[in-house]
């Protein structure tokens, strides 16, 4: 027996939408999933979970965080996200069976909120729980229409406080839907009374929550956990989505007043779907920002310690963003290439992409420089401050565990290791650190921790906060064998075009057992010699022939192109973009 689908359009549209969302977030926008997964650490522990029970909406956020942790695996994460974005369409379709039965307009209507959510989701701060909020509103409304609308009207009144506790402010949108449904779809004077009672229960619930149940400010009780993303487009889509869903019964009621032909016309229904699809996909790709994507991807590679991958990525897809260039420099330092490869990647910010200044804007990232150069106390401080301000995140807890292990604070390290062990995807990391805590003699031999211990300060000083670059000479004085600090000092000179600074510190090359001068330092030496006529003492080291040849070529090309200043930079950039000389003359 052949079975035919009742409404194939429903399945096709939803599949198409799912495929669109899946492709987008698995493809060009996968950085959003990483960003959000890295933004929060879900911990299976009473200490962590308790906090989510202390205010209405907390459970919604907890649910969102729970599913967000699965973004750790790209495919699972994208399936969760795409499914979450598609489900509202399915719910609205079934809601329409009650509100707009047998109408071809049901299909275009059902696809509007999912596309709006999808467009909001292009912003990396649009969290999964925001989607859940709208999804649950529709779900509860569907349950009401299907099971409760003809039954006793006090059931929604009883359930409202529980729903409010679960989804917070989204419950108000649901209330609006229920009131409008009551007013426009029911008959008799009872609908006015029921609507008033419903509104009254909602208000009393909030007041009772404030006065008796929760120690939360009033503003929090009526806004949490509504999204507050600082982006104009996001605001616009959010208001449209909220308004659309809140007054949906009114919209459908208004549509029922139109002629039957409109509702029966497949052409109109299909055309509307196509227009909505087209406009949304256009907006989707318009929202994509490749610079943001590059920064986040670079951050991911560095946090995953895939330093060579990060270096290659930035050199192939240069980012104009300060944080991206900062991470590129971190990756170079961790692979001992900072002074030999610095200019292979974009350097647009002078010295500012070497060390991030202390402020809340950079709280997420600043620790890495200090960790790289061995100022472990300061790395700990940044990670700790980030944890205080933004909560538990994989990177800050990991860094806190590592810095305490390196510093020999094993009991403290245990606490952070315990946190990692109580997670779904970082327990391996926790176990790895725990093994070291079980046998602390292995720490000195650990490739990462042992190295950091060797380059830490040997005596004490106060860390400079306002001018953090001043920590480097202090660190070098305290531990003259700290090669990473030395290279940061030298590239600081390079980026600030302080050639004399380079020359004055050349003797340290021998002290630090360099068997080869890093390329950019060679370039600076040649530039110095060319300009002053003096040859600095290099000890046992020499400048490579390759660099000398290249320098001669540079001088020759520079002289030749000097006649046309308007094109000189472009010509020189093509051949010498990755040299100190180009940076010195043209940046």
């Amino acid at each position: 027996m052949n079975r035919t689908l009742k409404n194939p359009g429903f399945y096709i549209i939803n599949l198409l939408f799912f495929a669109t969302a899946f492709s987008y977030f698995f493809g060009i926008a996968n950085h959003i999933l990483f960003f959000q997964e890295n933004n929060h650490l879900f911990i299976f522990s009473k200490f962590y979970l308790d906090d989510y029970f202390t205010q209405p909406g907390g459970l919604l956020v907890l649910t969102g965080k729970f599913f967000t942790q699965f973004y750790f695996h790209a495919i699972i994460g994208v399936i969760i996200l795409a499914t979450t974005l598609t489900l509202p369409a399915i719910l609205i379709y079934h809601i329409n069976k009650h509100l707009l039965p047998h109408s071809q307009l049901s299909l275009p209507l059902m696809i509007i909120p999912p596309f709006l959510l999808l467009l909001m989701q292009t912003h990396y701060y649009h969290m999964l729980e925001f989607n859940f909020g709208f999804l649950l509103i529709l779900f509860f409304f569907y349950i009401y229409l299907t099971f409760l609308k003809n039954k006793t009207s006090y059931v929604p009144l009883i359930l409202f406080p529980l729903i409010y506790y679960f989804i917070g402010v989204y419950a108000w949108i649901l209330i609006m839907m229920l009131i409008l449904f009551n007013l426009f779809y029911k008959k008799g004077n009872k609908r006015f009374i029921n609507s008033s009672i419903l509104l009254g229960v909602a208000v009393i619930t909030v007041i009772f929550s404030k006065k008796v149940l929760f120690f939360q400010p009033f503003e929090q009780l009526i806004t949490y956990p509504f999204p507050s993303v600082e982006n104009k487009n996001h605001h616009l889509f959010l208001y449209i989505t909220t308004g659309f869903i809140a007054v949906y019964p009114l919209i459908t009621k208004a549509l029922t007043t139109f002629r039957t032909k409109l509702h029966q016309s497949k052409f109109i229904g299909t055309a509307a779907v196509v227009i909505i699809f087209g406009f949304s996909i256009f907006s989707l790709f318009n929202s994509y920002n490749n610079q943001t994507s590059r920064v986040i991807q670079l951050e991911k590679m560095v946090l995953d310690e895939e330093y060579n991958q990060a270096i290659n990525f930035h050199e192939k897809y240069p980012s104009q963003n300060l944080i991206a260039q900062y991470f590129y420099n971190i990756a170079l330092s961790e692979t001992d290439q900072l002074a030999s490869r610095l200019f292979y990647g974009r350097q647009d910010f002078n010295v500012n992409a070497l060390i991030l200044p202390w402020n809340e804007e950079h709280l997420n990232w600043g620790a890495h420089f200090f960790y790289t150069v061995g100022l472990i106390n300061e790395a700990h401080r940044w990670a700790y401050e980030e944890m205080i301000v933004y909560g538990y995140r994989p990177q800050n807890i990991s860094l806190l565990a590592k810095t305490n292990i390196i510093n020999g604070n094993y009991k403290r390290a245990h606490k952070y290791v315990d946190i990692l062990k109580n997670t779904a995807f970082y327990s391996d990391r926790g176990n790895e650190y725990e093994e070291l805590l079980t046998d602390t003699s292995r720490i000195a031999a650990h490739p990462e921790f042992g190295l950091k211990r060797n380059i830490m300060p040997q005596d004490d000083f106060f860390t400079e906060i306002i001018s953090p670059q001043n920590n480097i000479p202090k660190l070098l004085q305290s531990n003259p064998e700290n090669k990473k600090a030395f290279e940061y000092m030298m590239v600081w000179f390079l980026l600030s075009k302080n050639v004399e600074g380079i020359i004055n510190n050349l003797p340290m090359l021998n002290n630090l057992n360099y068997n080869k001068i890093p390329r950019h330092i060679e370039e600076a030496i040649l530039a110095y010699t060319n300009s002053t006529g003096e040859k600095p003492d290099l000890g046992d080291l020499t400048i490579s022939n390759e660099t000398i040849l290249r320098f001669n070529q540079y001088i020759s090309d520079f002289k030749q192109t000097r006649q046309s200043p308007s094109t000189q930079k472009n010509i020189m950039q093509n051949k010498y973009h990755n040299t100190f000389w180009f940076y010195f003359h043209f940046k």
Binding site: Q216, N359, I376, R381, Y384, G408, P457, F462, T463, I465
Partner: protein, 522 residues
């Protein structure tokens, strides 16, 4: 929620009872002459008779463990079993046990069944029960032991006789302002003050039923009102006024150094709403802090490091040269005047520095914290508690110290118990410890605040800050402070309008604080 907890406890208890642990008795055990490893280390501690159960963890992965608690005095005993290493003592049984052991000791015997079902019995240990009760509540601030930033913060009270705790102040109701320095007049829960720093800033005086928000700042103060001390009469409060800074160490041995650029002392008269300078006007960059009254109100004790160099920051060597001595001034409450400084304890001679002087209620002793230098000993691992006999002048390092930080301490109302902050568990987070002070020569081994879940401290990242005893439950709750914070503050005025601006203000008048110095006392 309580019902659910109780239901689960009952189910677990039944499970454990029928769960397969064999019956432990001396007849079927092998005695081993070894101490069991337990956490917290409650062996040999002295406790008050009204303390909550001392739940603990046993560190061995055994199948079944049973712990027998017995009172030698009244022949009362009971057994607590566990299969997960957690010994959680039933509150009623514990209460009966401690009552039966007043002036004596509780014997604790641990039986452990290993994987081959053999039962071993460890060396018993004892818990001594003092005659004197402890104040029933402890008030403290919960805060992450961090640097500049803070987030959620609360002042909480915990019953010492049970595990009940409630919030007094929660800062999410105060726009995430910083709350600190809760201080009670004579351990009285109905009369206390707290500071709030930020958009709702002020000093909040709680008195009986109401909370009054005040602005304690006059021109001649170097900073806001900081460390408080109530005069026993209740009319006056002495404060230090500090310009506080933080520096961070690079070497792994230390973390943070908090110091004062300048600090002076003021007296606040709650009746007239006036502020009077205590520190002499001709002092240049004084360093006077931590005021503390004698129980009879005739003397104000405080810490003084003379005066320091000018400048908006200090180098490490400069800070290492700062040593605070213990000093006092006499006080006439009628004229609101003070006498000259009298040196009480010369710590600088020992190259040490005193903080937090606290006089016992009977006026005989002072407990203070002493560290190698500076004025913020909670970040000094070498900081320890010292006892000074005010009559004989003898002093000693107290037996209750550990090799980690011991700092902030207060006396109970009956003068028999001391609560102090100790970082001995993990070196970073401060926990409240209690010690029985029977006499100069007899100080009990301290014990940490007991928790229902004995594994609590292993998970907790926050510190217990400024533990203070109170004689009964504080009735105020966070919404009371929220209401008070929305009111206009009462502005204080100088007690002597003829006071010229002290010289330290002229020299160190910082109008702009660095943006980075967030989260530090203003």
């Amino acid at each position: 929620m309580n019902f659910l907890k109780n239901y689960i406890t009952i189910v677990l208890a039944i499970t454990i009872f029928f769960g397969g642990c064999q019956k432990f008795s001396d007849g079927n055990t092998e005695k081993i002459s070894r101490d069991a490893k337990i956490r917290p280390g409650y062996q040999g501690v002295t406790i008050p008779p009204n303390i909550a159960p001392l739940n603990f963890m046993i560190d061995y992965p055994k199948n079944c463990v049973a712990v027998k608690f017995s009172s030698k005095k009244e022949n009362y005993q009971f057994l607590v079993n566990t299969t997960n290493g957690k010994i959680q003592i039933p509150e009623r049984k514990w209460e009966k046990l401690t009552k039966n052991s007043i002036g004596g000791k509780i014997q604790v015997e641990i039986y452990a069944e290993n994987t081959t079902k053999k039962v071993k019995k460890y060396n018993p240990f004892y818990i001594y029960v003092a005659k004197e009760k402890i104040d029933p509540f402890l008030v403290y601030r919960l805060i992450h032991p961090g640097y500049y930033n803070w987030s959620t913060m609360k002042i909480e009270q915990r019953s010492l006789e049970s595990f009940e705790k409630t919030s007094i102040v929660e800062n999410q109701l105060l726009e995430k302002n910083c709350v600190n320095c809760h201080t009670f007049n004579q351990n009285n829960p109905e009369k206390f003050l707290i500071h709030i720093r930020g958009s709702k800033g002020g000093t909040y005086f709680a008195d009986d039923q109401q909370i009054l928000k005040t602005d304690l700042k006059i021109e001649s103060m170097p900073g806001g009102a900081t460390y408080p001390s109530w005069h026993p009469g209740g009319r006056f409060v002495a404060f230090s006024s500090n310009q506080v800074r933080q520096n961070f160490y690079a070497h792994q041995e230390r973390s943070i150094e908090v110091f004062d650029l300048v600090s002076s002392l003021i007296l606040y008269d709650t009746q007239t709403n006036e502020i009077i300078n205590i520190t002499e006007r001709d002092s240049i960059n004084p360093l006077q802090t931590f005021p503390s009254w004698s129980p009879d109100g005739k003397y104000l004790y405080f810490c003084s490091a003379g005066c320091r160099k000018t400048g908006s920051n200090l180098a490490l060597d400069d800070i290492k040269d700062i040593h605070y001595n213990l000093v006092r001034k006499s006080f006439d409450s009628t004229s609101r005047t003070f006498g000259k400084d009298e040196l009480v304890f010369d710590a600088s001679e020992m190259k040490k520095s005193v903080s937090f002087p606290r006089i016992s209620p009977d006026g005989k002793f002072i407990v203070f914290t002493m560290a190698d230098y500076g004025t913020f000993p909670i970040w000094h691992e070498e900081a320890d508690l010292y006892l000074l006999n005010l009559q004989s002048g003898k002093f000693k390092k107290m037996e209750l110290n550990s090799n980690k930080t011991e700092s902030y301490h207060t006396w109970s109302s009956n003068g028999k118990w001391l609560v102090f902050s100790s970082k001995r568990i993990d070196g970073r987070s401060a926990r409240p410890y209690f010690a029985y002070i029977n006499s100069w020569d007899s100080i009990g081994k301290p014990f940490v605040l007991p928790q229902q879940n004995p594994n609590f401290y292993n998970k907790m990242l926050e510190s217990y800050n400024i533990p203070e005893f109170v004689t009964s439950k504080v009735k105020f709750n966070p919404t009371d402070f929220e209401s008070a914070a929305n009111k206009k503050p009462l502005i204080s005025s100088p007690g002597n309008p003829n006071d010229t601006t002290p010289r330290w203000i002229k020299l160190e008048n910082e109008k702009e604080r660095a943006k980075i110095e967030k989260g530090v006392h203003e």
